[in-house]
Amino acid sequence: MKRLKLPPWLVLLLPAIIILSAVVLIPLVFSLYSSFTSYRLTRPDSIFNWVGLFNYEKAVTDVKFWAAFGRTVLLLAVALNLEMLLGLGLALMVSKVTSGQRLLRTMMMFPMMFSPILVGFQFKFIFNDNVGLVNNALQSLGITDQAIPWLVDGNLAMFSIIFAEVWTATSVFGILILAGLYAIPRDPLEAAKVDGCTSLQSFRYVTLPFLMPFIYIAMAIRSLDVARAYDIVQIMTNGGPARRTELLWTLIGRTGYVDARMGYANAMGYISIFLAIFFTVYFFKKLTQSRRELGMGA
């Protein structure tokens, strides 16, 4: 009896191929396909209802979609920059500490140890207008006697969400930048001192260029994170009030699971992914560039 002879490399790769297609490829192809149908979760047979580019056209012309898109970009821009600045400050301070640095480093990581859902609940409580910590504190201190509607007012709600994001993720920047600080060679810094730099000038002309690759890595990681932000927002405001904190993925989640319009949700998802891809590619470009400036890598 002749057995089917597969080339050895294929045999060896087969398990990986099977697993990858089961968990990645098939869902991907399925979701892509469904974005061209009017698929609704409540009507399974609608999966065969081919509508062509209709979902995409609808998304591109949908004001709500673009509002969520814009808000996500805003969140990305504000949160990332704030986190970068705070993380940088934090890392610089920790790196100057002479004793207990290990403890501080561990403490810096605390916010990263909590699930975003819990962080969401936490800040939902902190910013609650009646029983929340912030309002209580403000009132006890006599700064205000009103209940500030942190999560109800559109602008304040966005602020609260950014605050929560920054609280959770500043340590990502902090840790990576700290790693960068440790990796800076001592020689150029000493040369800068001898060359007459003040500490500010040393930082600006020597430390910072050496830190840029680390900052861009953190940016790339965090831009992916924020571009798919869902949990904190979902818990804290559920995209409200009146959709004023609606982000891309809360909108997509709502469309897909609450409104059950999965085909349309998938179409929006595919457009949104470009946002994440754009930022990742952008930051990796900057990363390579800053490394080349330092004469590292090609």
Binding site: A192, K193, D195, C197, Y205, V206
Partner: protein
């Protein structure tokens, strides 16, 4: 331009004291070389002058001003680091002009100074490259250029040539010497290479274990070493040292060999001494240089030869100690050959057998 004074300077790392109260006067526009074995505290001393290392005790003055508590940028110094310490993200031009840029000089002034320095060090064609695209010797020149652009009062060099190959090192040595003649600034130069020290220095400072062993011109330290450490550290090959005892006004080695007392010494009968002679001053009969009147002869077996071209180095053993001798106008020598050697006693030294300190003639 400025003189530099170190007064009882001490460096401690915690309880560990690595520089023990050293004193040094360096005159304006003098080229002083700190030399000594690895770990003796040369870099530490230099870095204290630069202000990169806190001074644990004593006082450093530059140009008559105590600088102990001044940051490097207020000391008017330049330093060339062992590993060049160039800024990798800046071009050669930016590296050279950096100190002027942070001093907020006008761009034309910077360009002018950079062009001049580049000219002196033949860096002009490399100005737009980054350090990563330079060879070791070129980086070294950039590091030097960066130092001279500022017109400092004092130049500090920390083993600037140790990463270069032998040929380049010789070349750069000449460059540095020329540079000093041109700029006439005070230079403190650290090296562990005694040849570099001899060729560059106006005065050599020999250090060991955080102490200064001797300070003097290259010839002084070569001809009159204050102790056996300096005697073996300066000069290549190192001075031969043999244990001897004074007997009937002569020197007796442990194997019974007797030689005349070097002229000028009058040591007590029975005193234990260390006899020092350089390879240049112990030569096989018939292959010696013209010599003085005070001679001694010993017979030794040649164990190893090292032909160097104009001369051959012969390795033998006398009284259980290795002795290196020089054969001028060399002929081939078989190992195991017994030869008679002449010792030029006028050039020999006696040291205290216990302390190693040079004995007075």
């Amino acid at each position: 331009m400025a003189n530099v004074t170190l007064r009882n300077v001490v460096k401690k790392y915690g309880v560990l004291e690595v520089v023990h109260s050293i004193n040094l006067e360096i005159a304006d526009s003098e080229f002083v070389v700190l030399v000594g074995p690895s770990g003796c505290g040369k870099s530490t001393t230099l870095r204290m002058v630069a202000g990169l290392e806190a001074i644990s005790g004593g006082e450093v003055q530059i140009g008559g001003r105590v600088v102990n508590d001044l940051p490097p940028r207020e000391r008017n110094i330049s330093m060339v680091f062992q590993n060049y310490a160039l800024y990798p993200h800046m071009t050669v031009r930016e590296n050279l002009g950096f100190s002027l840029k942070v001093a907020k000089q006008a761009q034309p002034v910077i360009d002018d100074a950079v062009d001049k320095a580049a000219e002196i060090l033949s860096l002009t064609p490399l100005l737009d490259r980054k350090p990563g695209a330079l060879s070791g010797g070129q980086r070294q020149r950039v590091a030097m250029g960066r130092a001279i652009v500022r017109h400092p009062e004092v130049f500090l060099f920390d083993e600037p040539l140790s990463n270069l190959d032998a040929k380049l090192r010789t070349q750069m040595r000449v460059e540095i010497k020329k540079l000093h003649q041109k700029l006439k600034s005070t230079i403190i130069y650290v090296t562990h290479d005694q040849v570099e020290a001899m060729t560059l220095a106006d005065r050599i400072v020999i250090m060991r274990d955080g102490h200064i062993e001797q300070v003097g011109t290259p010839l002084e330290v070569f001809e009159n070493p204050l102790n056996t450490f300096v005697a073996t550290f300066i000069g290549s090959p190192p001075m031969n040292l043999l244990d001897a005892v004074v007997k009937d006004g002569k020197l007796a080695f442990s194997d019974g060999t007797l030689i005349a007392m070097p002229p000028g010494y009058s040591q007590a009968e029975g005193q234990a001494v260390t006899f020092g002679v350089r390879a240049d001053n112990i030569m096989p009969v018939g292959h010696a240089l013209p010599h003085g009147e005070h001679m001694a002869e010993v017979e030794m077996e040649v164990n190893l030869t090292e032909p160097l071209g104009t001369e051959t180095l012969l390795f033998s053993v006398l009284a259980g100690k290795e002795v290196q001798a020089k054969m001028f106008n060399p002929r081939p020598v078989q190992t195991g050959e017994r030869m008679t050697f002449q010792i030029m006693l006028d050039k020999c030294h006696l040291f205290d057998a216990e302390t190693g300190a040079a004995l007075k003639r």
